[in-house]
Every structure is written in structure tokens, then in C-alpha cells.
Symmetry: C2
Subunit: 695 residues, 2 copies
Amino acid sequence: MRFLFSISFLLSIISLSADDGYRLWLKYDKISNATALKNYSKKIKSIQITYDNTDIIQSAVHELQVGLQGLLSKEIPIASANHGAIILEKSPKVINNEGYWLTFDGKNIHIQSSSDKGILYGSFALLRTIQTLQPIENMDITDAPKIAIRMLNHWDNVNGTIERGYAGSSLWDWYDLPDVIDSRYIDYARANASIGINGTSVNNVNASARFLSQEYLKKVAALANVFRKYGIKTYLSVRFTSPIYLSGFKTADPLDPEVRQWWKNKATEIYALIPDFGGFVVKANSEGEPGPQDYHRTHADGANMLAEALAPYGGIVMWRAFVYKADLKNDRATESYTEFKPLDGQFNENVLVQVKNGPIDFQPREPFHPLFGAMPKTPLMMEFQITQEYLGFATHWVYLGTLFKEVLEADTYAQGKGSTVSKVIDGTLDHHQISGIAGVANTGSDRNWTGHTANQANWYSFGRLAWNPEMSASEIAKEWIRMTLTNDQNAVNKINDIMMNSREACVNYMTPIGLHHIMGEGIHFGPQPWLEKSGRMDWTAIYYHRADSAGLGFNRTSSGTGALNIYAPEVIAAWNDPDKIPLQYLLWFHHVDWNHRLSTGNTLWEELCKRYHDGIKQVDGFIDEWQSVKSFIDAETFYYIENKLKRQRWEAEWWKDACLLYFQTYSRMEIPSQYPKTNRSMDELKDLVKLYQMR
Amino acid sequence: MRFLFSISFLLSIISLSADDGYRLWLKYDKISNATALKNYSKKIKSIQITYDNTDIIQSAVHELQVGLQGLLSKEIPIASANHGAIILEKSPKVINNEGYWLTFDGKNIHIQSSSDKGILYGSFALLRTIQTLQPIENMDITDAPKIAIRMLNHWDNVNGTIERGYAGSSLWDWYDLPDVIDSRYIDYARANASIGINGTSVNNVNASARFLSQEYLKKVAALANVFRKYGIKTYLSVRFTSPIYLSGFKTADPLDPEVRQWWKNKATEIYALIPDFGGFVVKANSEGEPGPQDYHRTHADGANMLAEALAPYGGIVMWRAFVYKADLKNDRATESYTEFKPLDGQFNENVLVQVKNGPIDFQPREPFHPLFGAMPKTPLMMEFQITQEYLGFATHWVYLGTLFKEVLEADTYAQGKGSTVSKVIDGTLDHHQISGIAGVANTGSDRNWTGHTANQANWYSFGRLAWNPEMSASEIAKEWIRMTLTNDQNAVNKINDIMMNSREACVNYMTPIGLHHIMGEGIHFGPQPWLEKSGRMDWTAIYYHRADSAGLGFNRTSSGTGALNIYAPEVIAAWNDPDKIPLQYLLWFHHVDWNHRLSTGNTLWEELCKRYHDGIKQVDGFIDEWQSVKSFIDAETFYYIENKLKRQRWEAEWWKDACLLYFQTYSRMEIPSQYPKTNRSMDELKDLVKLYQMR
């Protein structure tokens, strides 16, 4: 009996060729364009090394060999040929220690640098050039990073969980370390090096004192041994009271000589194990973490004690400015500024103050943090959040390149027009010797690293922008798409379109027109604008949206909390008038009448309804656009993202319904009839939130 | 300049061919033995299906095609050829609904069954036969499972963490479900089906009420849709007070008519979404979980209410017997017996009582649970723990096949000699219609699924023994080795030797001679025999080891707690005399003088010292044996296990030192001089424990 048979789609896509996302943007699949393949192949036949045989050079050569073997489908031996060779060579002409010079002289490709790290970065640049099918005939690329310290912050706990992690558990297996080196550690380092990241802090800023024990330092050293081969320094988040925990001290007072000596000894111990140790990340006197204020000392006292201990070894302290007192008297948006601004000039040379991009906490959109530009005597580090704590976890496709750029390009006017956040960060505005940028990682043990294949682009774009804040978000997105998904020009454009609009869509369906912090308590991916009680007033939603029968929004002008007034006069001027402030910040700074007519011609209520529905429409658009590129995408990846978008659509609708129905109880106006009616009730929506909050 | 170059070992092993363990035992690599390959290839050319086109048949065909394509390195089309075909056919001759008949008639291979599930199991059996290079010339295998319900219990939480999980985070992404079906769900189902597992309970027994909401049931249904294609039923752990949580009830009293109706309605709702839903797993009135006793009802009242709700749909209740009162009056080892034995005969027909293998809690070694054989009117289910909560987490290579067998073969003497636990479980001893066995899963999001590649064998052996408890642990180990690591006969024997001795080694370096529950509080992989205070007396170590200046061990005879007396007279007779009881249970039941001479000729103290050192020596032996098979093992796998063994060795020494130095404070005798002296002090060892317990 003959039988017509069809294996279901689900089964068919798990064939061996399906892509599970593990390889990130380092795919190295054979180039499918025959002309391009032939062209590259002709020019690349071997690798020649005229540089010292360092571990980093070995990493570069390994990457070139693996990458080119994949891309060109042929072995690239190490040889001394003088035609068709990639020559890795030392060049004093490349001044920046991490920069490289990449050229083709008609016969050979040259990767030149004054350091092995530069050679490594140049090697990745060459691979990227080929992966994205760029011509190499006239290649003459000089590139060097604009920010010195470009690092990931992992909020990983000793038990393997990750605070605000949505991609599985920690990459680090503390039980098995230092003995077991998971091959994933190497792939992690490769991925970081490929985008220029040169530092990583491996543990949560809510830090366990364990990490400073000899036992754990050995484990950290084992990771550092891997990362070092890729030019990555290892950092640790430290608990300020470690001397108490680890050595039974009665105090951790930063002015106590014994405490100071303890940290000096500890630094010596660390550097004996990790000679290139980067330094400490510190969250102090914030959200329950201990700090110098517990001993009536300042943040500067605390930071300088650690800085003094690390200084002999070249280590640095990254002291976080994310603080807000539990006994809230002022607007939370001013807290960090109020505490840190007076300390400007009091920090040691090897201290950076690490400031979140906005004054609250990684919301879908915030104005730039008022400390940027306000502490000229202190090198300020940027802290971005790559993990999407408030942007839909790993479920929503939200490209953060545009968010990062928006902040970097914001003008602080600290020294007149053009005093962008970017220039504060890279040290050029105030002539600082050190500069840094950190991203809170979105990586975890999930096979695709980031819990959503498309959000690998956020790790990627963070790294690329840390290297060069001048790159455009779209340019970076396109690189990533070509390396990760497809080189088809039309498909690249369509996917780029999704990415470039994705964050605005998220803002629209979550917190449009300057709304913020209206997410669910304990479930930051869902809405809870009705949240009116919490452990602290500034953990509620009503503290921030201030909805009432008159209108909506947080008055932070002089007639309100006055928080706007800590910005530069030019910024105040631009944002002080509710009719002139960019709509995206309107409700952040102003309480606006429901019937107030905005620049769009709509009343606030109409605009609010429009924006929430726009957000949904945009996701619908992404779904359609994604369908249109189906034939260019690996089947498993396509199917995975297709279904992620469905879930995103569902959650977007949840936000839209919850927020509009709730705000409607204040506006007492109908949702304009052009929008589809929801058939859900407030009670249903509240129950749904409660369900996701249930034990 | 020519340059001699060597890529480091670490780098070289992450080439594309390295094995990250993801494929488990379903490797399907091309057969390297040329003769065998030729022989199989000649006999297998196509697949012919004369069975209905069900989803399960599709799964079988897909697996055969993928598997054979890999093993034989050629495509196996679906065709109607009558020579060289694998014919999937219905056969009424195979009585057991899940059984199969696998034959070769000289021309074709026949996989016959009365059900599509049988065909699926037969297909995996054929693949296993080929993977392990068994001859098929005279193949005539009839096989059927001896236990009806063979399931995994996942202790996975809604937030993605896994209670007692050491392999990353949960496999289930509750945020993305029901929309996103991770391809890993399919691979999970394939792996389970390949070893005959036909049920899975997806959430922690400390259950969230969320799972019974419509919202979450849809998510569970999406998983069930995948599992169903592989003959796997989906079960849920339920929170007894769900009506209170989900519907605002004032009570969850199992005799309350409205509560009973709530559960009936809930069952109807579940089966509308999951027509083949398996049933409920319930942890009630145990360790803080709510249950019928909160309403002065019995476990039977509670179980029967749920059973009544599920009965119309064929669902079952698995009611866990793991209970022990907080106000401990008796020996904890008798608690479960005391509560459940009187209820024998009171449970509905579709209730199974799920009993852990031993009376305490998954210790490295326990005598069999006294309830086995003691409740003839109730079908008892076995609960094994595959995850190594007390056996070194995912760091230690401990093959549990021998542990499982030891328990299954234990004789309860309930109906005279030969009344093994195995016969209690499979229902033959007391003629029960339903029978079941559960294993607490060791799976997680780690790329190798189980956190230690070698411990994939524990998942494997659980499934194989659930199917057929008569198989030997060694036979199963060898199957697994051949499928996972190597087919080289000599290497198979050496690895089998490691595996067969691995659990005894673990018992030796952790809890020899019947010691138990002396692990660290909150860190169950480490030692803390000195633990004398905890939330409850029976959470300490001293409660169990009862060390004093006279001797060591827990007197559970009539002169002690009398816990031994709840076993059958034959068992009591065998274990009552400290000079006759098998040494492995000695300190479980007897307090023995330090100087008491044992059957080995050693005093207790000498034997204790010997056993702890034996454990270390055994791990040293494993390290040597593993080195000796290096050339037969994939490089990444070899390196990974090699280093895991180093860490295991380190922890074994920690146990040995901590336990011997501590017990020495009671024995006041020297550690015999033939053993290497430790240079660690008790204080150091205690500090190490404290460190791993530090926030």
C-alpha cells in the first residue's frame, strides 16, 4: 500500500541545518553570492604573521581561519606567500593602542596595529567586511575606539540566576569553576571582541561578598584567563561591607585605617591571581546595599578608598550614581544629581562615576540624566541597559540602537551647543584621561544567548556604539542583519525598517508622550498604571503619571517639583513650555489637561489614544514585514521570530487596553470611534496582572 | 618572516565538529566501523508505512529518516519497495498497547505494534540497535513496558528557576508560550520517547496556582501539543488552595460542595484544551504547602476530590507521600508511613500514592521506603530523583542506574520472599490496574541538558528502568555509552567501570556506612556534619548522625526510635543486629561504638576513615580511567568531563576532611597513618562552608 506522507513543519525545521542562534553574528556560512565568493577567494589564500606570537594574536589567527574557512569554504593556511596573504603586522603608524589599519595593496591584505589587540579588532573588521559583502579592492580603513573602557555588566548571582535576566541562567558556572572551562566562555569572549568590548564585570551589582574570597577569586581568575586571550579585562562588583563578611571586621568605614589596609591587601591578592584585573563596580547606599553613608562618609570617601587600593596596579573604580533615598523628600528624578553633583572634583583620578542614561531607571524613554554635563571634574561613565527590563523582556523585538543613539546625541549644553552626552562620555568635553561605557548584559544560558534572536542586535549595537558613538543606529542594524540574517538588499532594508521603528513602537504601546514607570510591580513587562501602593511611594505608578480629572503627567517645572531646573538653561528653555517641549518628553515634565491641544492637532486624550493604537499598528506592520522576508531567512529563525512577534502583539494589546481603560477613568472621555473597541474590562485586565504576580 | 604557530588547545576544540552534548544519546553520527556500516546499509534502503498517518507515526518516520541518514550517511526515502524496507505496520499480535515487535525477515525489517506509540518505541529501538552496533540478521525483539505511567517530574517555577536544578534554567519559557514553540521542546520530547517516557509534569510540586488559570493552561496546552506527537501526556502539579487563589473562595475544604464543583469545572476546562491531559501531581501538607489537613480532612479526602474531578476524562491523581510534620514527635523516617499507612484502601481508583525511594529525602543511600509493601490496597508510585540534589549537583559524575536498581530490587517481604519494590511498583504484587514511576528531572537550559554530560545517563537509565525494571544497570550504562560516547569495546568497558562504581564512590566520600543528611544547610552539595541548629531539629545534621563520645549512628531499633519496626519481620530480622545488618545501612539503624569491630575486621572509626579515603581513591581511579579512553572520545566532551572530575575530586576531599575532622572530635582517635594527612583545619573547612552559604 502506497502512502502519501508529509512530515509536519515543526519537525522539518529541526533538521541539522536549522539555525538555533548560537553563533550570533559570527555565522561564517559560505557566501552564497557566487561572484562575491570568487572575488574574495581569489584575494585570500593564506595568513602571514609578522607579529609576536601572543595569545591575542593566536585568537585573531584562529578567528580568521575559522571564519574564512566557513565564508570561503576553503582552508586558509598559515604560510609565507606574498600574494593573496592576510598579513598581520606591527605598525607604529597606528597610534591608538586599540586601533588598526586595514588595507589591500593589490596583492595582499594588511592588518596593522601597534598592539595585538588592534590586530584582533582588525581581523574581526576584515571578517565583518566580507560577511557583509563589502568590496575590498580599495580597502583602506583606519579605525580606533573613541571610548577607552567598553564593558558589559552582568547582574549574575552566585546561585546562577540573573537579576533582570530573560535569557536563562548565568553563563558562569560557579560550582564548576575554576576547573571546568565551558567552551561557551570562549564563544562569549569571541563575540565581545568582535564588537570591541574590552571589559566585563561578571557579577551582580547587588554583590555577594563571596567574590572577594580566595576561593571565588580563583574562579574569577579562570574566567579572566579566557577573556584575556580576547583583549577583555575582568572586573568585579564588590560589596562595600566585604571586610565584615569575609574577615569579621566590626566596621567597613572607609576612613578606618584597618579597613583601608584590608582593601589594599585584597587588591594585592587579586592582582596576584589576575594581573590585568580591571577594577571594581560598586553599588553603594542604594536599594538596601551598604555603603560609606552607613558610616557617615561620602560616596567620594568610599570610592577613593577602593581607588587607592587599586591604583598601584592600574585598576579603576566604577562608582554607580544610581541612588535614591528611601525617605523620599524630593522628586526621585533629582536624587542622584543631588547626591553626586556636590562631590564633583572630590574623586580620585582612577574613579569613574557610572550614570544610568536617564534619571529614573531604564524606562522605554527617558530624557538624558541631569548629571551628564554637570560634573565636569569627574569622568562620567554611561550605564545602558541592554537587557530589556522595561521593554518587554526577551519577548519583544526592540532594537535599542536608536535608544542608545538618542541619549548619546542629546545635548547637555554644559559648555554651549554641541555638548552632547557622547562627548561627556568619551572624555573630550572635559578632557578626561579615562572614559567608559557599560551595558547591562542581555546574555544568558539560552541557546540563542539573548532569549530573542533579534535582540542579539542590542548586544551588537551596544558594542559598536561603545567603539564609535558616531555610527548611526541604522548602519549598525544593517551590519547586524547582514551578518546574522541575510545579505539580500531588499530584505535587509525591510528588517532594518522593523528595527529602526521597533523602539518607538514599544514606547507607543507602553509609555507614550513621556509617560514612565507605569509597569507592573514585580512584572516589569506588563502594565499596572493603577498601582497606588508599594513599599515606597516612588515604586508606585501613580507617583509618576499623576493622572487626575484635570489631566495627566508629572509637573517637574518650577510650579511642580522643579526637577527640570537642574538641567542647563538651554535645556530648560527647550522643555519648560508644554507647547514647545518635544512631545516625547511632554508628560515627563508637565501635567497637561486632557483637552489641551497638542502640536499634532489632537487633544492630549486623543493623542494618547492614537499613540497606544499606533503602537499596535506598528507591531502589525512588523508582522507583515517579517512575513515578506520569509524566503531569505533560515526556517527555524524565521518561525521563532514570527511567533515571538505574535506574543509581542498580544502583550502590546494588553498594555494598550490596560492603560487606556485606566486613564479613561480620569479623562472620562470615549476612546475615539476610529479605533477597534476592546472587549476586555478593567477587572479582567487587573486579574491578568494579578495572575502574573501570583506566587 | 616565517613563523611557527600553534593554536592553543582551548581554541582548537571549539571547532565546528566538537560535541557540546546537545544531541544527548541521539547522536546519529555516521557509523565508523566500515563493515557494520556496509552491512546495515545493504539492509536498509527505504521506509514503508502501512499504518494510519497519525502524528506519532510521523514522529517515528521523521526520527528514522533523520537517524538513519546520519548513521548510514544516505537518504532513506519513503517508498513501497519490498526489499530493504523498514515496514511500519499494525499488528494485533502485540497485546500491550505500548509494546512492539521488531523483526528482520531476510528481506525487510518489520516494526509492528497495535498502536502508533508502539511503532514509535519500536523505531527508537531499531535506531538504538544500530547505534550500538548490534546485529540485525536474526533480530526478533518483542518488548513492552512493565510500568504503565513512566514520567518526569519537573520542579520548574514560573520565573524560570528550577528547584534543585543544576543545569541552568527551566526548559519552558512561560513568557513566550503559547505562541513560541522552542525547537528544544521537540528535542526534549524526542529524547523522552526514545527511552519510553510517556508522561511529564511540567511544574514544581511547590506549585503556583497560576497553572490552573485559563491563561496558563493555554501555555501548557501548547507544550502538550508538542509532547503528544511523541506519545507523552502532560501533567500538572497543582496547588491545593487554587480555588482560593484563582476564584476568591474562602475555603479549599475538599468536602465543601462548591470546592468540589470548582475542581470538576476546572477539569472540564483543562480537558477542553488538552484532551489527553494526564492528571495532577500533588504535594499537600508538606513543607508549608497547603492541603486537606488544613481543613481537618485526610490526604484521602483531598486526593479523592481531585480524582473525582478527573475521573470522567481518564485523568489520575499522583498524591505525594513526602510529608513530615513540623512539630516532630517521632523519627522523621517514620512520618510518611504513620500518616499514609492508615489510609490504605481509602483512595479512589484513579489515585496513586507517590513515594520517594527512601524514608528521608533522596540521600546518596537510603534503605527502601517503609511504605513499599505496606499499602497493598493502594497503587504506589516510585519517586526517584534524577537531579543530584544530594549527590554533588551537576559537578559529580554519579551514575544513578545502580541506585535505582538497588531500590527496585530491595525485598519488602510484604508477601514473603521476592516481594520486591519493583513488584510493588509495577502493580503485579497486589494486582493493581495502574502503575507508575516518576523521576525528578535533571534537565535544564544548559546546552548539554543536564549540566554534566555524563549525567545524561541518569535521565537515560531512569527511562530504561521505568520501561523495564529488570534490565541491569550495567546493560543500560553500556547502551548509553555506545550511543553517547564511543562504540569501542575496550573504552565501553572502562567507562562502564567508572559508572558502575561512581555512586558507591560518592556514598563513600559523602555518607558511608549508613550516614545520612549531614550536608550543608542550603548547600546540599557540601558537608556540614556540625550543623546543630536549624529551623527544625530534623533539618540539622546532628539529628541524624548522633555522634557522641561513645560512637556514631542513629539507633532506630526498639531501644531507639523504633523506626526499624515498621518494616516486615524478615527485614527487621536482617537489619536488627548491628553485627549482621549490611554495613551500608549500619549507621542508619544503629548507634555503634567507635571501637566496635565490624565484619570487615576494622573498628567503626577505622572503617569510617577507610571509606572516606576509599571514596577519594575511587575518584582518582576514575580520573585515570577517563584518561585511558581519551583517544575514543570527542575532544570537547573529553576535556569537559576531565575537568569536571577534577572539581569532583576537590569536593570529595572537602567532604572527607570535613567529616573525618569533625567526627574525630567525638572519636578522639587518630586518623590511621596509612592515609595522607590533611593540612586543613576544622576552622578552614567551616569557613569554606560559610563562604558557600554567604549571600
